[in-house]
C-alpha cells in the first residue's frame, strides 16, 4: 500500500485555517524564517480518512480478535472509557488551570490513588510516571533518595534482579546509576533462594521482582525473600506488570514490597494504542512518601483538592504535570465498574490461563509443571529439535488461524519460549478455538513444517525481513528517490 507521501499532490489540502483581515502582518526575522516548507502530505480530507481507514484494516487489535500476548494483558478496553475521556471537562482542561478550576480532575486523581493504595496494600501513590518502565526508574530514584536520606547511599549500590526479569528492569537499573546483581531461577520457577542468600548484603539497595513472575508463577518463597531483603536493610520493588493475576487475592504490600508500579494500560485497561500510551503510577510504603515526585495530589481539610509542590525531600519531577491524566480517567472508570469485584476479574484471568495450559501442555513442552497464574510459558524446543519449527514459526502460523501470536523468546530462561496470556475477557469458545489452532500447528509441524516456516499465508504481507531492515536502515520516506510521484 502507498505511503501518504506517495498520495500527495502539490496544491491539495485537508485543512482550512482561519485568517483574519486587518490584523498585524505575521513577521519573522529573515534569519529565523523557514526557508523550505516541510514536505508534509498534501491530500484532501477524504484521502486522509481513506488512507488511515485502510491502514487500520492492516492492523490487528483486541477489537479484532484474540491477542494472548504474554506480559501485556491484552484485555477488552471498554468503549465507554473513550467517551468519558473525551468529555470537554477532561479533554479540554488545561494542566496549568488553577486548582479551583480543576477540582473534578484533582478529585479523580485523588480517588484513583486511594483505589491503587487499597489494591496494592500500600500507603501512598504518585500517578506521575508515564509507563511501567518509568515507574521502575522512578522507584529506583526513590530507593536512592531513601538511602541518601539515611546516609547509606554510597554503600548500597546494588539492585538484585532474577534472570526471568523483563528487560526494562535491568535497563532501569542502569539508568538510575545502580549496579546489577543477577539471581537464578530454581527448578520450580521460583527465585533460587540459596543463590540469593549469597548475594544479598549491606551493599544491596533493593530487589526488583515481578510476582507472579514472567513465567506466570507465583514465587512460593515470597515470605522468605521478604525476610532476606528486609533483614539486610534493603528495599523491595514490585514490577506490577502482572498484577492482573492477583487483584483482591494477594497484595504486593502484604507480600512485603515497599514500592510497586502499576501498569494502568495492562491491568486497568488503558487501550494500548499500537504501543502506548500507558500509565505507571507507583505506590509506596509510608516511609517513602516524602520522596515521591512533585506535585502531590492532596485532599485538604476544607474538602477541596489541591497540588502540593512543597515536598523538600522529593526526587523532583519525572514527567510533565501530574501524569497522563486521560489514562487515569480510563483506569478510574474501569476500576469503578468492577469495585470489589476486581477479584473476579483476576480469578477469571487465572482460570482462563490454566484452562489453556491444561489443553496445550501435552503438545508443547512445559518447563515448569505447575498451575500457572494469569499466564504461562511453553517451549517449542522439541518442535524445533524434531521438525525444525521454531517458536517464531509457530507464532507466524497462528496468524493464519486468525489469532495474534503470544509473546515469543521471552522470558530468556525458557528456550523457544511461547508466553501465553489469555486475559479474563475471552469466552471459552475463543479459548477452545485457540487451543485447537495450537494443537493443529503442533501436528502441522510434524507433518508439513514448511507450512509453518512460510507462514503467514493470509496476512496483508508475507513474512517480513527484519535483518535486512536493520542492515541498511531506511527510517523515513526518501522523497529524492521517488521523483516520479511529484509532478
Amino acid at each position: 500500500m502507498k505511503l501518504i507521501y506517495e498520495k500527495s499532490q502539490p496544491g491539495r489540502r485537508a485543512s482550512a485555517i482561519p485568517r483574519h483581515a486587518g490584523l498585524p502582518a505575521p513577521e519573522v526575522p529573515a534569519e529565523l524564517r523557514r526557508a523550505h516548507p516541510p514536505r508534509l502530505p498534501e491530500v484532501p480530507e477524504f484521502e486522509l480518512v481513506r488512507h488511515f481507514t485502510e491502514l487500520s484494516t492492516r492492523n490487528f487489535g483486541v477489537d479484532t480478535g484474540f491477542y494472548p500476548l504474554g506480559s501485556c494483558t491484552m484485555k477488552y478496553n471498554p468503549r465507554v472509557n473513550e467517551r468519558l475521556v473525551g468529555l470537554p471537562g477532561f479533554a479540554q482542561l488545561h494542566p496549568h488551570q488553577e486548582e479551583e478550576g480543576a477540582q473534578g480532575a484533582l478529585e479523580l486523581e485523588w480517588r484513583l490513588e486511594q483505589i491503587l493504595a487499597e489494591v496494592t496494600g500500600l500507603d501512598a501513590v504518585s500517578l506521575q510516571p508515564a509507563a511501567g518502565s518509568q515507574g521502575e526508574l522512578t522507584g529506583l530514584m526513590l530507593v536512592r533518595a531513601y538511602f541518601e536520606d539515611r546516609g547509606e547511599s554510597a554503600q548500597r549500590r546494588k539492585v538484585v534482579i532474577p534472570d526471568t526479569a523483563h528487560g526494562t528492569n535491568p535497563a532501569s537499573v542502569t539508568m538510575s546509576g545502580y549496579e546489577l546483581t543477577h539471581v537464578q531461577t530454581d527448578t520450580r520457577g521460583n527465585i533460587d533462594v540459596e543463590d540469593l542468600r549469597a548475594k544479598v548484603d549491606e551493599h544491596t539497595a533493593a530487589l526488583m521482582l515481578t510476582n507472579p513472575s514472567t513465567l506466570g508463577l507465583f514465587d512460593e518463597n515470597i515470605e522468605e525473600l521478604e525476610r532476606i531483603f528486609h533483614g539486610a536493610g534493603a528495599l523491595m520493588y514490585y514490577d506490577g506488570a502482572n498484577l492482573n493475576a492477583v487483584c483482591g487475592i494477594s497484595r504486593p504490600g502484604d507480600m512485603g514490597f515497599d514500592i510497586v508500579h502499576i501498569n494502568l494500560h495492562k491491568t486497568f485497561s488503558q487501550p494500548h494504542g499500537g504501543g502506548g500510551p500507558g500509565g505507571g503510577p507507583i505506590a509506596v510504603r509510608g516511609m517513602l512518601e516524602p520522596f515521591l515526585p512533585v506535585p502531590a495530589v492532596v485532599h485538604r481539610d476544607d474538602g477541596s483538592f489541591g497540588l502540593d509542590f512543597d515536598r523538600p525531600k522529593s526526587i523532583g519531577k519525572v514527567r510533565g504535570f501530574t501524569g497522563p491524566f486521560g489514562v487515569f480517567v480510563r483506569a478510574y472508570a474501569y476500576m469503578r465498574m468492577y469495585g470489589p469485584r476486581l477479584r473476579e476479574m483476576s480469578e477469571a484471568a487465572v482460570l482462563n490461563a490454566n484452562y489453556v495450559l491444561a489443553r496445550l501442555k501435552d503438545a508443547y513442552e512445559l518447563p515448569y509443571d505447575r498451575l500457572c497464574m494469569h499466564e504461562f510459558v511453553l517451549s517449542a524446543r522439541e518442535l524445533k529439535r524434531e521438525h525444525g519449527a521454531t517458536a517464531l514459526d509457530v507464532a507466524k502460523r497462528l496468524m493464519d488461524y486468525g489469532f495474534h501470536p503470544p509473546t515469543i523468546y521471552f522470558p530468556l530462561v525458557v528456550p523457544e519460549a511461547l508466553m501465553i496470556e489469555p486475559t479474563e475477557t475471552e469466552t471459552k469458545e475463543t479459548l477452545d478455538a485457540f487451543c485447537e489452532a495450537m494443537l493443529a500447528i503442533a501436528r502441522e509441524a510434524a507433518e508439513d513444517p514448511e507450512l509453518l516456516k512460510e507462514a503467514p499465508h493470509h496476512r496483508p504481507v508475507r513474512r517480513l525481513d527484519e535483518v535486512r531492515a536493520a542492515k541498511t536502515p531506511i527510517v523515513k520516506y526518501e522523497f529524492e528517490q521517488h521523483p516520479a510521484i511529484v509532478r
Binding site: 489540502r13 485537508a14 485543512s15 485568517r19 483574519h20 505575521p26 519573522v28 508534509l40 498534501e42 480518512v49 488511515f52 492492516r58 492492523n59 490487528f60 491484552m74 478496553n77 468529555l87 477532561f90 479533554a91 482542561l93 488545561h94 494542566p95 478550576g101 473534578g104 487499597e118 509507563a131 518502565s133 518509568q134 539508568m175 515470597i222 502484604d254 501498569n263 487501550p271 499500537g274 502506548g276 519531577k317 504535570f321 501530574t322 497522563p324 486521560g326 469503578r336 468492577y338 470489589p340 473476579e344 480469578e347 482460570l351 482462563n352 484452562y355 495450559l357 498451575l371 496468524m399 471459552k428 503467514p456 504481507v461 508475507r462 513474512r463 517480513l464 525481513d465 527510517v475 523515513k476
Partner: protein
C-alpha cells in the same frame, strides 16, 4: 460471573475446572502462601453500571473549568490549538486503539506504516534524519537527549538555558544523577539567551539545550546558540514547538544535533497534561544511540515493501542493562494523532497556522499595550504565539479575578521565575479570535 467484561458461565467454569483437574477456582491459587493472601474483600465502593459511572464522571468533569467554558489564554507548554475531527475518527478505529507494540509486523502493518510516516513528518519538520516512534512527553525526551549526549560525547555536563520550560529543566535534573550528569543553567538576558554566555557555559559540555520559541514566547537567536554549542563540541539540542516550524527554520538547518519537543500542540487535546507525545529526532550519526522504537522499511518473502521495528539491538528487551533506554510502552497512539494532524495541516496549513498565530499574538500585544498599567515585558523581542506582559499587581491574583469574569488570562510567570511575580505569559492560538482578544483586554483593564 455475569459482569459485562467477563464471559464465563457456570457451565463454562465447571468444564474448565474439570479439564484443569482442580475442584475450585480457589485451588488455582494454591501456590500463594496463606500469609500473603488477602483474607477480606477489597474495600472499594460497589461496582457501578456504565450508566451510573457516566453520571459520576460527568459530575467530576463538570467541576473543571475547561477551555470550552472559560476563554483561555493559558499556554506555557500546553496549547489550546484546534484538533480536527479526523484525528479522533482515526484514533478510535479499534484496530489502532486496541493493538500493542508491533512486535509481529505481519499483524501490524497499519501501525508500522503510520509510524514510518510519522517519523518522516517529524524529520521533515525538524530537518533531521532520524525520528523515533515517540517518547512520553516533551520533558522526558529532553532527558533522553541527555543520555544520548552523555554516551556520544563521554562528557558529564548538560547546559540548559533558563528560558527553557521549567518543567523540562526539572525533569532533566531529576534524571541527571542516575545518568551521572550535572546540569548547568544559563540565564536569559532580556528574554533571550546570549550566545556568548552560552558558549562559555558549553565548554566541556555533552549537550546544550535551548528552546525555540523559548518559554517566554521569544524567538531565540537559535542559529547562534547552535553555533556556540558546536564550537564547544557540545551537541546542540533544540526544544521546539512543532507548530512553529511552518514559519521558523528547522533546527536541522542550523546545525543542531538533536531536535525534540512536546507534541501536544500538534494533534492532542490538553487533557490536563496527558497523554501526549514527545518527539525526538537526530542526525544520522546518532541513530544507534536513539532511545525507543524506530520503524524501518524492508520487504516481505514475496519481495513486497513492508515495515518492521528495527535497530532493536538498541532496546531493553534485547540489550537489557546496556540498552539506550528502558522505554518500551511509548505514546504511539498520540503520535498517530500527530501524524493525522500534520497530514491534515499539510505544508500550506502549517505555514498559515503559524502566520495566524503570529498575527493574532501581535494584535493581542497591541491591544494589551493600550491597557493602562500593562506593559510588554520583552517589548523589543520577536515572539511567536506567546508573550509576557507585566501587570500592575501579582499575576496570580489577576488570574483569580479574571477567572470570575470567565477569562483565564494566562500563566503567572512568578510560579517559576523570581522577580516575575507580576508577569503574565499570554498564549494566543489560532483558536482565539480578535473579539476574544478584545475581551481579554477589557477584562485585564478591569482587574489588572
Amino acid at each position: 460471573m455475569t459482569h459485562p467484561f467477563l464471559a464465563l458461565t457456570d457451565a463454562d467454569v465447571e468444564e474448565m475446572l474439570r479439564t484443569i483437574g482442580v475442584s475450585s477456582v480457589d485451588e488455582l491459587f494454591r501456590d500463594i502462601p496463606p500469609g500473603v493472601r488477602l483474607d477480606r474483600g477489597l474495600e472499594l465502593e460497589p461496582a457501578l453500571s456504565e450508566q451510573e459511572l457516566s453520571a459520576h464522571l460527568a459530575g467530576l468533569a463538570a467541576r473543571n473549568a475547561d477551555t470550552t467554558r472559560e476563554l483561555s489564554f493559558l499556554g506555557a507548554g500546553i496549547y489550546d490549538h484546534y484538533v480536527p475531527a479526523v484525528v479522533d475518527a482515526v484514533l478510535q478505529r479499534g484496530e489502532f486503539l486496541t493493538a500493542y507494540t508491533p512486535y509481529q509486523p505481519e499483524m501490524s502493518q497499519g501501525v508500522l506504516q503510520s509510524i514510518f510516516e510519522y517519523q518522516t513528518a517529524i524529520c521533515e519538520l525538524t530537518g533531521m534524519d532520524v525520528s523515533n516512534a515517540s517518547g512520553y512527553d516533551g520533558e522526558t525526551v529532553t532527558a533522553d537527549a541527555c543520555f544520548v549526549a552523555r554516551h556520544a560525547t563521554g562528557r558529564t555536563k548538560i547546559v540548559v538555558t533558563e528560558a527553557t520550560n521549567p518543567q523540562v529543566r526539572q525533569v532533566v535534573k531529576t534524571y541527571a544523577p542516575g545518568f551521572g550528569l550535572e546540569v548547568v543553567e544559563v540565564p536569559h538576558r532580556g528574554g533571550v539567551t546570549d550566545p556568548d554566555a552560552l558558549r562559555q557555559a558549553a565548554d566541556g559540555a555533552a549537550a546544550v539545550i535551548f528552546q525555540q520559541p523559548n518559554f517566554f514566547g521569544c524567538l531565540e537567536p537559535a542559529p547562534d546558540l547552535a553555533a556556540a554549542a558546536n564550537e564547544a563540541e557540545a551537541l546542540p539540542v533544540a526544544h521546539v514547538d512543532p507548530l512553529s516550524l511552518g514559519v521558523l527554520e528547522a533546527p536541522g538547518r542550523y546545525g543542531c544535533a538533536l531536535a525534540l519537543g512536546e507534541g501536544q500542540a500538534a494533534g492532542n487535546m490538553p487533557s490536563y497534561g496527558g497523554p501526549h507525545y514527545g518527539f525526538l529526532a537526530c542526525r544520522r550519526d546518532f541513530i544507534r544511540r536513539m532511545p525507543g522504537r524506530i520503524v524501518g522499511e524492508t520487504v516481505d518473502a514475496a519481495g513486497e515493501r513492508g515495515y518492521v521495528l528495527t535497530l532493536q539491538t538498541r532496546e531493553q528487551h534485547i540489550r537489557r542493562e546496556k540498552a539506550t533506554s528502558n522505554i518500551t510502552t511509548n505514546q504511539t497512539l498520540l503520535a498517530l494523532g500527530g501524524l493525522v494532524y500534520l497530514t491534515w495541516l499539510g505544508p500550506q496549513g502549517i505555514r498559515e497556522l503559524g502566520e495566524t498565530c503570529l498575527s493574532l499574538a501581535a494584535y493581542a500585544k497591541e491591544r494589551l499595550q493600550e491597557v493602562a498599567g500593562l506593559e510588554l515585558l520583552f517589548a523589543d523581542r520577536t515572539t511567536f504565539k506567546e508573550f509576557a506582559v507585566r501587570l500592575g499587581r501579582n499575576a496570580r491574583d489577576v488570574v483569580r479575578d479574571a477567572r470570575t469574569l470567565g477569562v483565564h488570562p494566562g500563566y503567572a510567570l512568578g510560579r517559576d521565575y523570581e522577580g516575575l511575580d507580576d508577569v503574565l505569559l499570554v498564549a494566543v492560538t489560532e483558536k482565539r479570535t480578535p473579539a476574544e482578544i478584545d475581551r481579554l483586554a477589557a477584562v485585564l483593564a478591569e482587574v489588572a
